[in-house]
């Protein structure tokens, strides 16, 4: 099996789609010669040329809005918003336009748009360059939201996003770009709306996204040594959520921890906790724990940033709280 980094996996999905299909093209800031601020689109300008690998001005509304317009005409554009913090600039177009055209027209239109973006703390980027805003977009009817955490997943899901006829917000995580793994020889599309169980366990279910999937896997190893068996599940698709897999897992273990890098309060994890509480009420042996960032903007100084953002330790502690072994 070939080994690909997460970054290469994104590039591979984009390139394969563009080779197969003239209607697929990419646009974004600095994606052409520079190959993107995260190096994702390196080499693609040479292969596909400037018509299909388009640099845009710093103009997020027009960037995303133009992609919306092209999608409405049947193309499959993939717009890159350099940092998910800048999604805020394009939010009017995403929320008021892309998410609603199909509905407001009574089904006359499709918007097969993909907006790729990334975020992630841990390198002192400061408060405006590392937010995790998936909670904003899962809240909007009409959008699909994906957040893969491995190279295999990002490749298979990006393909599915491109070929889904609905607007998809596709979150990548900065700290995962270099993460390598063996991937299938052939690109295998992964269905949207299907969670993935990374690790099976009996005592606690940890539902995690993005970087926290890996932190949770490490925490699970740690908990194992303390005699606690942890199941780790990555929803991968945040909207529509694979409630069945998550609920089945919690019904098996009777305890749940929801972990994400985004701020805990009012986050995506709150919705998951509510769903679990409602559907697995009689299976819960402990309150559902949530792990996330503290409720402050991201500070610059490394010592403060590490305090705010969640890591393996927080997930481990949450796991132990659910089994009634806090302070052990």
């Amino acid at each position: 099996m070939p080994e690909l980094s997460y970054r290469e996996a994104v590039r591979d999905a984009l390139s394969q789609a563009m080779r197969k299909d003239d209607d697929v093209f990419i646009m974004g800031e600095d994606i052409a010669e520079m190959g993107g601020s995260m190096g994702v689109t390196q080499g693609m300008l040479d292969e596909f040329g400037p018509e299909r690998v388009r640099n845009t001005p710093i103009s997020e509304m027009a960037l995303v809005g133009t992609a919306i317009g092209a999608a409405m005409q049947g193309m499959r554009p993939v717009a890159e918003v350099m940092y998910e913090d800048f999604l805020t600039l394009a939010t009017e177009q995403i929320v008021n336009q892309a998410a609603k055209h199909r509905y407001m027209s009574g089904g006359q239109l499709k918007v097969p748009l993909t907006v790729r973006t990334q975020g992630g703390a841990g390198w002192s980027p400061g408060a405006q360059h590392a937010q995790q805003l998936e909670a904003w977009f899962v809240h909007i009817p009409g959008l699909k939201v994906l957040f893969p955490s491995t190279a295999t997943d990002v490749r298979g899901l990006l393909w599915s996003a491109i070929y889904d006829d609905n607007p998809v917000i596709f979150f990548e995580h900065r700290t995962l770009y270099g993460l390598k793994e063996d991937v299938p020889e052939e690109l295998e599309p992964i269905p949207i709306g299907k969670a993935r169980v990374h690790r099976e366990g009996e005592d606690v279910t940890v539902i995690a996204t993005g970087r926290l999937v890996h932190e949770s896997l490490a925490a699970a190893e740690q908990a194992e040594k303390d005699g606690v068996s942890v199941e780790v599940v990555d929803p991968r698709t945040l909207q529509p959520l694979d409630e069945e897999t998550l609920v089945d897992s919690v019904k098996k273990t009777n305890r749940a921890v929801v972990a994400h890098e985004a701020v805990t309060r009012m986050g995506f994890g709150a919705e998951v906790a509510a769903v679990l509480q409602h559907q697995a009420f009689d299976w819960l042996d402990a309150p559902i724990e949530r792990v996330g960032a503290k409720f402050v903007p991201l500070p610059f100084a490394p010592v403060m940033e590490e305090f705010v953002v969640p890591h393996q330790a927080e997930v481990y502690e949450a796991i132990m709280r659910t089994v009634g072994r806090n302070g052990d």
Binding site: S59, G65, I68, G74, S105, K144
Partner: protein, 323 residues
């Protein structure tokens, strides 16, 4: 700034067609006002009384596969682009037979088959998509043009600037039609525009611009034709400024307390595009009344059609979320 030359004169036959269409829009809008006051039309409605020549002049210059995107004041554009008054009225009544099947209402009229990709309730919201549609036409080598309607108020918003910038940068086949009626809801031009000549806004982006008398349908038609040719032939997007007047309030029921006394009455006397065309064509009273009767009949029929239409089922609200 590149100048675009206007086309030659328009035949009388065509002008008569324009007259009938404008009159239809006028009677439609008046009927909408009446039905709104009778409490039959929910939501809010913005009628285009006074701006009929802009809608007809531009839409009649389009070719079959060109597309338009409209604003909150969309009835005129939608009718002029070819949607039957029955379907527009049914949409205002929220019926399944409406052009957006009851999902959109007055500010979200879509008729994709006829090239209307939607009215937009967010000022300037539809402009970027117009750039995108034009980009798609260019990338696929299709001789089609994407046209966006908007008002003078919209020339202040970010999407306007970003869209014109990108459209000109990428030389896409788009025409940006600005219906300058000198009011942004209740705010007069001098309170929201720091400049006098809106074509300067196009100049800022190096874009070709044209100007026409929005109350003269012939002038609008000729200018639109030229602008469309310019874009279609790959010479780049065009900003088309139409000087027009809003002969009613911003929304139905707007008491227009903000408008100088007598302004509306005076404009109705001197700037009504239908009156002007009637005079230009030298229509007799009989000819006018016959045309008016036809317009009234069509409009009355559309109300009957709408009222007899099918209400969506409550659960229909859950459909059409995803493709």
């Amino acid at each position: 700034m590149a100048k675009v030359e206007k086309k030659g004169a328009v035949s009388e036959e065509l002008l008569r067609e324009f007259f009938r269409e404008m009159l239809l829009i006028r009677r439609f809008e008046e009927k909408v006002e009446e039905r709104f006051r009778a409490g039959e039309l929910p939501g809010f409605l913005h009628v285009a009384i006074g701006q009929e020549a802009c809608a007809v002049g531009v839409c009649r210059a389009l070719e079959e596969r060109d597309i338009i995107a409209s604003t909150h004041r969309a009835h005129g554009h939608t009718l002029a682009k070819g949607t039957h008054p029955n379907e527009v009225m049914a949409e205002l009544y929220g019926k399944l037979e409406g052009t957006s099947h009851g999902y959109g209402g007055s500010m979200h009229l879509y008729d994709v088959e006829r090239g209307n990709v939607g009215a937009n309730a967010v000022v300037g919201g539809g402009l970027p998509a117009t750039v995108g549609a034009a980009l798609a036409f260019k990338m696929r080598d299709e001789p089609r043009v994407a046209v966006a309607f908007f008002g003078d108020g919209a020339t202040n918003i970010g999407t306007f600037h970003e869209s014109l910038n990108l459209a000109q940068l990428w030389q896409v086949p788009a025409v940006f039609v600005c219906e300058d009626n000198h009011w942004a809801e209740s705010t007069p031009a001098k309170q929201h525009l720091p400049i006098e000549d809106l074509t300067d806004r196009a100049a800022a982006y190096g874009m070709a611009a044209m100007r026409a008398d929005g109350q003269d349908v012939e002038d609008v038609y000729q200018s639109a034709h030229s602008a469309l040719d310019h874009a279609r032939e790959g010479r780049g997007p065009v900003f088309l400024l139409l000087e027009t007047y809003r002969l009613t309030g911003h929304y139905i029921g707007d008491p227009q307390v903000y408008r100088p006394k007598g302004e509306v009455e005076e404009l109705r006397e001197t700037q009504d595009p239908i009156t002007k065309l009637r005079e230009k064509l030298g229509l007799s009273d009989e000819e006018f009344e016959e045309a008016d009767r036809e317009a009234h009949e069509l409009v009355e029929a559309s109300v009957e059609f709408a009222k007899a239409g099918t209400d969506p089922k409550p659960e229909d609200a859950l459909k059409n979320l995803y493709a």
